[in-house]
């Protein structure tokens, strides 16, 4: 066997914390990558996957460094070579494709100037040949109208086009290794499919090796032949794609796969209890990093760290391989059939059109109208029903939600709640009684909770606003709310910064519940969360609906999540409803071409 292209031995990345305790972001990772091989690194946020990827090109985020271990790329350690050699290595030997190409491209330079810079540094071409090479690269990444593209600025390109430019730029130096850091995460599903197909093609045609980092194992499995699962800074399982996906061994891999919502699945996604071991605790932890959350954990797991043991073509770091392979420790709940809804309509939206700006003086003079974001949308929500609103970015789904909440004015149409409350006007015009009945939960719990207030204060506020309660009763009500979203009462005194993402989102849901609402508007509330946490939030929402009969309007771009949670669904494109109906029918037998295209993009 020839020498591997990249080999990593016992690599630990981190910093030395208080009392000279090492803080591990990445711990004792071993990897080898042959030329032309594609490896996917999968893990949830905070597992160290991006730090590991950047270390491969000799780069560490501020404050971090290599604690021990070695990296060899083509026989050279990127941490030991001279700055000139490192410059040749980065871009020439290996190239990074970043997560957000829109931010990675310089906004004030035309695409051509940025492409030429790479060619000047990393190719032997004469300046006269640069233009032709750029065009060839753009055709390679299937950018439409390559000549036009070269003269544009980054902001004049769509997100997918920006990502293709970033790929072309990475290919310009003819690297042997491509490093990809979640390159499709910010893209719409239909765009993502195209970029992934392109990456697959590049690997096959150019025989470029690839390390692909993502939180999404389904994305990874489209491109990579080898998959490594990372947890709490370590690779816990690594092997060929087919083996890992169909017969995962490590309890974490099994848990991760079980927590992903999928289309046409009879069971609910199964959450993983607990939280990932934080970097500060990784140094003092002597046992398996997953022992705290693992249903199979024994005393041995807590006392000694498992070593990698080979199983057929792969290896696994686990003491309880036999028990894990027997399976049976994850029992996902059966999906409930749609609740018996009856026909009591709660919310009715009739002929709703929304636009952001009023016509300017000049436009009204010319008889022009600024374009509407949402056009003639009508739908209803029954009591206790969960309605999904799906569509890609710019489809107007969040705008509809904000209008129902009264945060965005409407152009025409009518919104009524239980036939009596008029929700057409802005928040200021609504009586407190009807405000109480509709509550909103936001996408990003970091931004939706005031960082200066304790959890207790945050939950008490809607109680003070809508109900006249005595202090003692109020405290009990706050405790009850925390209990309902499965958080301990001791969290009352904490600030949002002391909670994990999933816990923060639970608090945001509890704040909505405090008002005893009839309708909760959910704006992508699980898309900022890890899948194992998302599964728990979805289960919580279903439980809440079963307990209190609250209705939900659930905006999401993720069709599998919508199918898991919702009774009926509306598909939006460009501000218009393309298809609406019961989830079961729409997903099984989509009628509109756009719905079919969306479903075909689900990995």
């Amino acid at each position: 066997m020839t020498a591997p292209l990249l080999s990593i031995e016992n690599l630990s990345i981190g910093f030395t914390g208080l009392n000279d305790q090492p803080v591990f972001i990445v711990r004792d990772v071993n990897l080898t990558l042959a030329a032309g091989e594609t490896l996917g690194l999968v893990g949830e946020s905070g597992c160290g996957k991006s730090s590991l990827l950047l270390a491969m090109m000799g780069y560490y985020k501020q404050g971090l460094g290599r604690l021990r271990g070695g990296i060899a790329y083509d026989g050279q350690d990127p941490g030991l070579v001279s700055p000139q050699q490192l410059q040749a290595l980065r871009g020439g030997g290996m190239a990074l494709i970043p997560q957000n190409a829109g931010q990675a491209l310089t906004p004030t330079l035309r695409i051509k100037a940025q492409m030429v810079e790479v060619l000047r540094l990393h190719s032997d071409l004469a300046p006269g040949a640069w233009q032709a090479r750029c065009l060839a690269l753009f055709e390679r990444v299937k950018l439409p109208d390559p000549e036009q593209m070269l003269n544009r600025y980054p902001h004049e390109l769509s997100g997918g086009q920006q990502q293709r430019v970033a790929i072309a730029m990475a290919l310009a130096g003819e690297p042997d290794l491509l490093l990809l850091d979640e390159p499709t995460t910010g893209l719409d599903v239909t765009t993502q499919v195209g970029v992934l197909a392109l990456l697959q093609e590049i690997c096959q045609d150019l025989n470029t090796a690839m390390v692909y980092v993502s939180h999404d194992i389904q994305v990874i499995s489209q491109v990579c032949n080898q998959i490594a699962i990372m947890y709490a800074g370590e690779i816990v399982e690594m092997g060929p794609r087919a083996d890992l996906l169909t017969q995962p061994v490590h309890p974490y891999t099994q848990g991760l796969l079980a927590s992903i919502p999928r289309l046409n699945q009879q069971t609910l996604p199964h959450p993983i209890a607990g939280e990932m071991l934080q970097p500060v605790h990784r140094g003092s932890n002597v046992g398996c990093g997953y022992a705290g959350r693992c249903p199979l954990a024994t005393d041995q797991c807590r006392a000694t760290a498992p070593l990698a043991q080979p199983i057929a073509d792969r290896w696994v770091k686990c003491h309880e391989v036999t028990a894990a392979m027997a399976g049976e420790f994850i029992r996902p709940a059966q999906k409930l059939l749609a609740a018996n809804l009856g026909d009591r309509e709660l919310l009715s939206v009739a002929d709703l059109s929304i636009r952001y700006q009023a016509p300017t003086w000049l436009q009204s003079l010319r008889g022009q109208q600024p374009p509407a974001i949402v056009r003639a949308v009508s739908f209803g929500i029954q009591k206790g029903e969960i309605v999904g609103l799906v569509g890609e970015s710019g489809s107007g789904k969040s705008t509809i939600l904000k209008t129902i909440a009264g945060l965005q004015g409407s152009l025409s149409g009518r919104i009524t709640l239980s036939g009596t409350d008029d929700l057409t006007g802005p928040v200021e015009s609504r009586p407190r009684g009807s405000l109480r009945k509709v509550q909103l939960v936001f996408q990003n719990p970091d931004a939706s909770l005031n960082p200066r207030k304790t959890i207790g204060e945050i939950l008490r506020r809607p109680l003070e606003l809508y109900f006249d309660l005595a202090t003692g009763v109020m405290d009990q009500a706050v405790d009850a709310l925390l209990q309902r979203v499965n958080l301990p009462e001791s969290y009352k005194g904490r600030f949002p910064g002391q909670l994990s993402g999933g816990e923060k989102q639970r608090v945001a849901i509890a704040r909505a519940l405090a008002a005893k609402p009839e309708l909760i508007l959910c704006d992508e509330i699980t898309s900022a969360l890890d899948v194992s946490v998302q599964a728990a939030i979805l289960k919580l929402l279903l439980d809440l609906r079963a307990d209190s009969g609250v209705s939900l309007l659930f905006v999401s771009h993720d069709l599998a999540v919508v199918e898991t949670l919702c009774d009926s669904v509306l598909v939006l494109e460009g501000g218009e409803v393309r298809e609406a109906g019961l989830c079961a029918e729409v997903f099984k037998n989509p009628q509109h071409a756009y719905t079919q295209a969306l479903l075909a993009s689900v990995l």
Partner: protein, 283 residues
């Protein structure tokens, strides 16, 4: 208050922060107890040769009129501190009120407030200040009100900028959607989140205002003689600098040490509160 203790701990975590807090603390303490410490009356004249250098009886020598320089230096910061502390307080209170108001409400009210700010920024404040003092006298109250007004104009801009960053956060939207009143949103959702910026800003304003006040005294508009004041002392003795440096050096050291102290504290405050996000450049 526990948060005050936390903030102080954060400031004194760095060495420069410690130096700053010690300097500011020393000056504040001195201003309070100086009347009981000083060896002479501030206007007591000694019938010896003027400009006498340091001696056992007069550690920092005598000034032109035969007054004890040490006594006058120890007492010379009292009025400056009184005026600037209250002046800064006034500036921050009214400036942040209008700044948060403009940032939160936006639209016409924002335009009105910010254009008024522009107008006042275009007026040379020193000349305007001299005009006010010429008309109303230089009583501490007049000084507090005018300095407080002029230094608040910059605070309006700072507070508005900080508010604009917070207004777009989802927790403000959530409060709006709940049906909270604008005043309640400004007080409970926005103000606590712009507090850090305002605290750092007020520390910086304080040091600027001290310099401005001393400059006024230097020009003869700040403090009425014979009340001791650093700016005035420097002005009166500067022509004899080559002959007798002490009457100029002493107030200079006092004023600089206080301003350096305030600036070090402000920098440490900004770092510990995360307002100053400067980090090492990448690559």
């Amino acid at each position: 208050m526990s948060s005050a203790v936390t903030i102080l701990k954060g400031v004194t975590a760095t060495r420069s922060g410690k130096i700053g807090v010690v300097l500011v603390g020393f000056h504040l303490l001195l201003a309070l107890v100086a009347p009981w410490l000083v060896p002479y009356e501030f206007d007591a004249q000694t019938a010896v040769i003027d400009h006498a250098g340091p001696s056992l009886a007069h550690w920092a020598g005598l000034d032109t009129l035969g007054r004890d320089v040490l006594t006058r230096t120890l007492l010379g910061g009292r009025e400056a501190l009184l005026v600037t502390i209250f002046g800064t307080g006034l500036a921050v209170v009214w400036g942040s009120f209008f700044g948060v108001l403009a940032g939160y409400l936006g639209g016409r009210i924002d335009e009105l407030i910010m254009r008024s700010v522009d107008i006042f920024l275009a007026i040379p404040w020193m000349i305007f200040l001299l005009l006010v003092i010429a008309s109303f006298g230089n009583a501490p109250m007049v000084m507090i009100l005018t300095l407080g007004f002029f230094y608040g104009i910059g605070v309006v801009r700072m507070a508005r900028a900080a508010t604009l960053e917070v207004v777009v956060k989802d927790y403000v939207l959530a409060a709006k959607a709940r049906g909270e009143r604008p005043l309640s949103i400004m007080m409970t959702e926005i103000l606590p989140n712009v507090r850090d910026v305002l605290m750092v800003e007020s520390a910086m304003r304080w040091s600027w205002m001290l310099l401005a006040f001393s400059a006024l005294s230097f020009l003869g508009f700040g403090v009425t003689p014979p009340t001791p004041d650093w700016g005035l002392m420097i002005a009166n003795s500067r022509i004899y600098l080559a002959l007798a440096p002490w009457p100029v050096l002493m107030p200079m050291i006092a004023l600089s040490s206080l301003i350096i102290g305030i600036n070090l504290t402000a920098d440490a405050l900004a770092k510990s509160l995360g307002v100053d996000k400067t980090t090492r450049a990448l690559v």
